[in-house]
Point group: C2
Amino acid sequence: MAMKWWGWGEEQRSFPLSDPERFWSFLRDRLGETSIRPRLQSLDQIVLPPSRLAPEALAALRRAAGDAPVATDGGERAVHSLGKGYRDLVRIRRGEVPNPTDAVIYPATEEQVAAILAAASERGIAVIPFGGGTSVVGGVEPAAGGPTVTLDLRRMERVLRIDRIAGTATVEAGIMGPALEAQLNAAGFTLGHFPQSFEYSSLGGWIATRSAGQKSTLYGKIEERVQSVRLLFPGGVVDTPSVPAAAAGPDLTQTITGTEGVLGVITRATIRLSPLPARSDYRGFLLPTFADGVEAAREIMQSGLRPAVLRLSDEPETEVTAVTQMGRAGVNAALLILGFDGEEDEVRLCWERGERILGRHAGQPLGLGLGEAWESSRFDLPYLRDILLDHGVMVDTLETAATWERYLGLYRSVREAMETAMAGRGVVMAHLSHAYPDGASIYYTFLARQDEGREIEQWQRVKTAATQAIIDGGGALSHHHGIGVDHRPWIAAYLGPGGIRALAALKKAFDPQGIMNPGKLTPDSEEPTHV
Amino acid sequence: MAMKWWGWGEEQRSFPLSDPERFWSFLRDRLGETSIRPRLQSLDQIVLPPSRLAPEALAALRRAAGDAPVATDGGERAVHSLGKGYRDLVRIRRGEVPNPTDAVIYPATEEQVAAILAAASERGIAVIPFGGGTSVVGGVEPAAGGPTVTLDLRRMERVLRIDRIAGTATVEAGIMGPALEAQLNAAGFTLGHFPQSFEYSSLGGWIATRSAGQKSTLYGKIEERVQSVRLLFPGGVVDTPSVPAAAAGPDLTQTITGTEGVLGVITRATIRLSPLPARSDYRGFLLPTFADGVEAAREIMQSGLRPAVLRLSDEPETEVTAVTQMGRAGVNAALLILGFDGEEDEVRLCWERGERILGRHAGQPLGLGLGEAWESSRFDLPYLRDILLDHGVMVDTLETAATWERYLGLYRSVREAMETAMAGRGVVMAHLSHAYPDGASIYYTFLARQDEGREIEQWQRVKTAATQAIIDGGGALSHHHGIGVDHRPWIAAYLGPGGIRALAALKKAFDPQGIMNPGKLTPDSEEPTHV
């Protein structure tokens, strides 16, 4: 299966627009006329700067890698040097890979990873852990500066143990979503973790970035599913205790989860599984407004119900969904996909209680079809981005989370900031897709006609405006994409000097040389001034 | 209300033995003849060493404290220098307070706390945050060495804000359980956090030690209820973000929760509330054996059910409970208290499903009475300890948690280690009281005739044997009591060198002088050797 270096997923796959003519006419109305944009035809056309790895250093890395493949050709270097964000795709379509990694190593064992870290540490070579490479915040992009090696962990993909009694599995971090889920399913379990990147992202990547899946409202974000992790850092290892709960100082699993490779390489984890549900029942509803839907979502979560799926689109996203996937125009309402997993009688009771709440907010059932349509197409949307980029449309997503009392205020202020940054010539749409008793996520998609030749500056304006509005409004700097390069300018404002002190202390303790994924997560001046 | 300095709770309260004669005869059979032990009659009789605070230092602390009371009399110093563990009560009944604190300050504001930390930091004075003082692991006991001041936080007891939309409250850390719960109940909410110490322990203490409550199987340990915390450390403050979830580096709330005052003083927290349940329905069952009950508990948790109470006594504890609380002898089975909180129809469905599972494990219902009896008496048990100590009986508790596949093996090995350490002349009993899909806690009580004059050495032998067996068997070093002084010798073995590196880095970053609650949690040599 050939993967797109210039876009999402597999070369043979594209997004099935239900009514292309209506779709393009709808977009033209909103964005103005756009034009087909050329892109580089072949990966071979990308001209990379020469490797910064001295021959001796490369030889030492090869020795450390043992029988693990070490790639230094341009194609491998290029595809490991950018993620899958809008900025990444714009650049790689132009052939711009400003700071390519100098070598890609494919270790298969923890011993190889440890040896590579030791060799890199001895020579001050930067090391970037790489899972599926689907970061949309610049999480796998090398920093400008010294020599860099990327550890592609895809060969570390074994399910080491499934414990049927505890309902846990110990798994190597490089395993991709479908391979993991298939092996768990065969044993009667599920992890229940389905990020949009599911097909091409890895367990280790999920843990490193605190990923959320489309059913995380029930199954929990990945940090709730991780019982313990193993982190190899330059010079040592952390194995956090595999216990259901403890009162033994800080929760080290939660201290390592989300560190985006800046402390070391997560090589394995023990994860909590759920039995495969006897029944999954997902349905569509229309609420009069997004605000009505938010209120219903809050009531559902605070009533103790735990839907597997609770996805509420605002009015613009509902309209676009209707055009894109149903071929219908002019819908002005808020689309809700709600669904429960569980035993038959349990799911029935959940629906009784859930429908009572939706009824109080004038929710209109759309029947089963929409829930099923959503489920069968839920990994397709990133393919639409490729079509839009081909047609000269800027399209990206960003996300946050907020407590309920701040939710609608933040939703509006971020939206307005983005609209202003696009000078009113774009589409901003959003949905709520992960809900908690105390709040929920907000996930924005924004589109505009590309400003040709200044695509990245144009995008950066929107991103900056949105992120500043998120910080000002008390939202999470990220709910599940992570910090990477893109959100790093705001991390100090988000965590405050005290929080940065903790982060800097961990960085210094585990990676005193600063070789682990430099330029991500931790702010530039890692030693905080005394407050 | 006068509090017992020599025991638990209020002077006027004692444990209501249902049939004292049968109880003592039962104990005599197991432990042999014990004798009434005298104790110090008055707090005034305790002779403390002179204060180590130089007059200038005390004056500086008084200035920093502003209008906060500063106590230096012997009684105040003594009762703030020990917790409520067995070792503490043995010592204070003898009048032994080996390392008393030198002053007790009662700040009412964060400004006062910050000023006191600054003054203490300037002079190298150790600072111990003190909530209810109910630690059973030596968590509030001063270390030998330099001058020490204790911050009694009971005046910081305001509920600052209840947010009815988000379902959260921001509360000062010194508030005690009943005052907090009463104010939340009045607003229609509950925290659902009821440790056995509930009546005399504080929110800040719960957070500092990762406390669990009797209904934590549903409502979660305190770390699951904490949305954000404020930590004042010498020279700064950490305010963790108040968001429902995030992907912005390590979870700083979980990094600070459980740090037992060694990084700074937790002064406030935003906690997640639950609506008061429409119905609470707790019932008693008898299972043929503890092993049957553990299997039923696992099935209940893995089926997705979340009981508010799931407390399963092993055979010895069931027998003692029958003698103590029901006046019945010769019961050989495992007592289960199971209960659900929720909406009427939800609780009904939970019982249908729960009883189906219990039926498969030959569970016999005992009716409603026992569940209610348990609920009405659930804070009484520590009072029984005072009666036992008066009668020359060693009695203490210790706890751990393990994943299900290790559970019964660990249960037996710890039990055998304790029995061996007591040379077969004691009673060891246990219960499972907090359950998770992947495992559960084990809570032991042990009793023996006191070895007069060597009470602490006798206790230490049992404690050491049990703790080593916990570590060897893959259990949590503590599930909800914390580390304090008592578990500190094992923390390095439990967390490993990599884990200790993280802990040491945080300690050094927030408390470089080592003035915050010295001698607790972090091991002696805080700088790990390079691994």
